[in-house]
Amino acid sequence: MSQSIGGIGAFAAQAVGQGTMTGPPATGMLGEREVVRNTGKQAIVSFLESQTCYSVLRASGKVVVFDTRIPIQLAFYALVEHDMQAAPLWDPKRCQFVGILTVTDFIDVLRYYRETGSDVLTLASRSIADILADEGILSTVLKKNPPRRYLSSNDDGTGADQHSSFLSVDADANLDRACHLLHGQTMDFLPVMLPSDMRVLATITYTCVLEHLVSNFREQRRLFDDTIYDLGIGTYGEDVVVAYLHQTLHEVLHTLHLHGLSAVPVIDENTKKIKGVYSRSDITFLTKASDAEDAVSNLNLTLDVLMAQQRTDVTTPDALHTCSTRHTLQYVFEYFAQRKFNRLICVDEEERVVGVVSARDLVAYFL
């Protein structure tokens, strides 16, 4: 196998050509290929181990922290206003961080209210601590592993070990550890903390890690000439969860929750062509609703209506990024360097969905 010189930043047409080898390669070449594959993998792994979480931080970043006593509705609006994805929660009584609030948590609470038929207007006055204490909500609509992310308020603050339940990574720990934490706990946001100071410096996601990787990893050799399909990165075929245009927002959110996804490709059920991607953070449009009641009614809208709406409330709406199964890992990295996607939808020549590759999958490959 010829090795051409070039780092991740160089794009080469050869990549696609090489990727079209679908049949089982000759034994000799297989061995070589394995070696190259592993070398590439190892290079990234050692890079991750050499970098600390500190290096991922922005030069001047912002963290929004909520006191658990404030009403959850206000917290939701504040989060959307800052256009942040996640905010750590601080409990002043226990003097520690107790969890992370994301935009979708609010909508999950709304769904809960709708499902149980409770009066949504009471939601306006409930504080975050209230919600966290509500066992009903915790067990039904919040993410599948709620105890991981929230400290149950039934626990007594018996000392410092309570603090360790708040999953975070030290600023000086290496990226490898951070990724393992993210992956192992199936979390999307990992706070970077200074434990001595009780300060959250930032929350990092898989996308952050990838961004850091593509901008800082420099290697002369071409290491990733295998296709993502061959490498097994992503979800393909039957496992791909999709949503249809005629579905309501409520159903879509339920699907997301069920499978623990952050987004789904949206398909036209007639042509089976991909129409877009709907992610959890897209629900921020609900802030335009006048009150909780109105917001809940939005859950009945169908996707085709929603996707036709102009998104003005976020600065960079989640756009649709596609690739083909024949693209190599190298190509994916380069594309990421340009576009910074959260996920790629693998489509075939007729724009039908065949798979999804998310940032999480990409990073998980190297763990």
Binding site: L57, S60, G61, V65, A78, T316
Partner: protein
């Protein structure tokens, strides 16, 4: 003082110019009546501070002079001027001082010290044979002089004078221009003084009399005021800069010196004047900020009521210097807080967010770190923000808190 003493011209020691000129060469000349020199002599004024009273004899000016130093130095310059009588004390009262014209066996200071003590005990301060002039009771001042010490009396007097009168002030113009002049109440708006240029800044130094002064700059033939300095509007609505040097106190950085200067200041002024000064010094607490004087001022405030005696003042000031129990005056509550430094007005959270990355902020100035900002309370919620540094990166925490 010491060296002056050696010269045998005590008068010269004190007020320098005046007495020495009178002396015309020193008091060694017998014929020169002490009285002549006495005008400028502080000793004279004090009436005998001390031994001076006794030793004053036209014939033996030496002794006279030798005695003077300690006590005389304690006298404020104005006293010296105001005075002018003294003398007439026979030398023989002070054995051992008759050394002849040039000879002074001990340093004048030593002499004066001992003499003062001696005179205090043995002589009526104002007395002495041949006392031709009324001697004001010099007891208190005399004592005071002892306390201060002869070595630095000269400087104290000079500085005290300065404190009374003129405050050297630097005027700056930092807003560009080719030719910048300044004029103000300190020269009666009479002429435009060219300022000295240094790069893009213009400066001028002037000794301002105590009080408030207004001034304005003429930049390239245009009357302008400096927007970064305090301003005042006149009756016609014209805006001038102004500066208030009423309470200016030069910072010397030496606690001992400050104490002694304070002691001089207290003793010199009359009771009422001292009370006013102490009050003013108490008020200066706000202005001085982090200087060493405020705690001392508080102590002076206490002194105001009772012991205005210099000894009590200096002694008390020294020990109670750091903290005091004085309640602030009512007018201190109405004072404005110090103005916000301008670099704190650049709040990075208020800048519009970048498009691509919403969690990124502009890099803050290091001087704005660790300052807590807050918003007005709305819906029972207050938002706080603080920017802190970790290694080379900054992180701004925005905290939503109920209240």
């Amino acid at each position: 003082m010491g060296n002056q003493q050696v010269n045998g011209t005590p008068g010269g020691a004190m007020s320098m110019s005046s007495s020495s000129s009178r002396r015309g060469g020193g008091g060694y000349d017998g014929p020169q009546a002490p009285g002549a020199g006495g005008d400028g002599l502080p000793y004279g004024a004090s009436g005998g501070v001390v031994g001076s009273s006794s030793a004053n004899d036209g014939n033996n000016p030496n002794d006279d002079k030798t005695r003077r130093p300690g006590g005389g130095s304690a006298q404020p310059a104005d006293h010296a001027r105001g005075g002018g009588h003294h003398h007439g004390h026979p030398i023989d009262r002070y054995p051992g001082t008759r050394d002849g014209i040039g000879g002074v066996r001990r340093t004048a200071s030593d002499m004066s010290m001992t003499d003062m003590t001696a005179s205090a005990h043995s002589h009526h301060p104002g007395g002495g044979g041949g006392d031709r002039h009324p001697q004001p009771a010099a007891g208190g001042q005399h004592q005071h002089g002892v306390g201060v010490g002869p070595g630095i009396t000269l400087d104290l007097a000079t500085i005290s004078a300065a404190e009374e009168d003129a405050v050297p002030t630097v005027f700056r113009w930092e807003h560009g221009g080719r030719n910048v002049y300044i004029t103000g109440t300190f020269n009666g708006w009479s002429r435009q003084i060219p300022m000295h240029r240094s790069g893009n800044d213009f400066t001028y130094i002037h000794n301002l009399k105590r009080g408030k002064h207004a001034f304005k700059f003429i930049v390239d033939d245009e009357w302008r005021f400096a927007p970064d300095q305090p301003t005042v509007a006149d009756i016609e609505g014209r805006i001038n800069n102004f500066i208030d040097v009423t309470d200016f106190k030069a910072y010397t950085g030496d606690l001992e010196f400050e104490n002694e200067r304070h002691a001089v200041h207290c003793s010199r002024a009359a009771e009422a004047a001292a009370a006013a000064a102490a009050r003013r010094n108490g008020a200066v607490v706000d202005d001085d900020g982090g200087r060493s004087s405020p705690p001392g001022s508080a102590a002076r405030g206490i002194d105001r009521d009772g012991e205005n005696s210099s000894a009590g003042g200096s002694g008390g000031g020294r020990t109670e210097r750091v903290y005091g129990h004085a309640m602030p005056d009512l007018d201190e509550y109405t004072k404005e807080p110090p103005p916000l430094p301008p670099h704190l007005r650049h709040i990075i959270l208020n800048k519009p967010p970048q498009l691509q990355d919403t969690a990124a902020l502009p890099v803050p100035q290091h001087v704005a770190l660790n300052h807590l900002y807050c918003t007005a309370i709305k819906d029972n919620m207050m938002v706080l923000g603080i920017t802190q540094r970790y290694k080379m990166k900054s992180c701004t925490t925005v905290y939503y808190s109920p209240c």
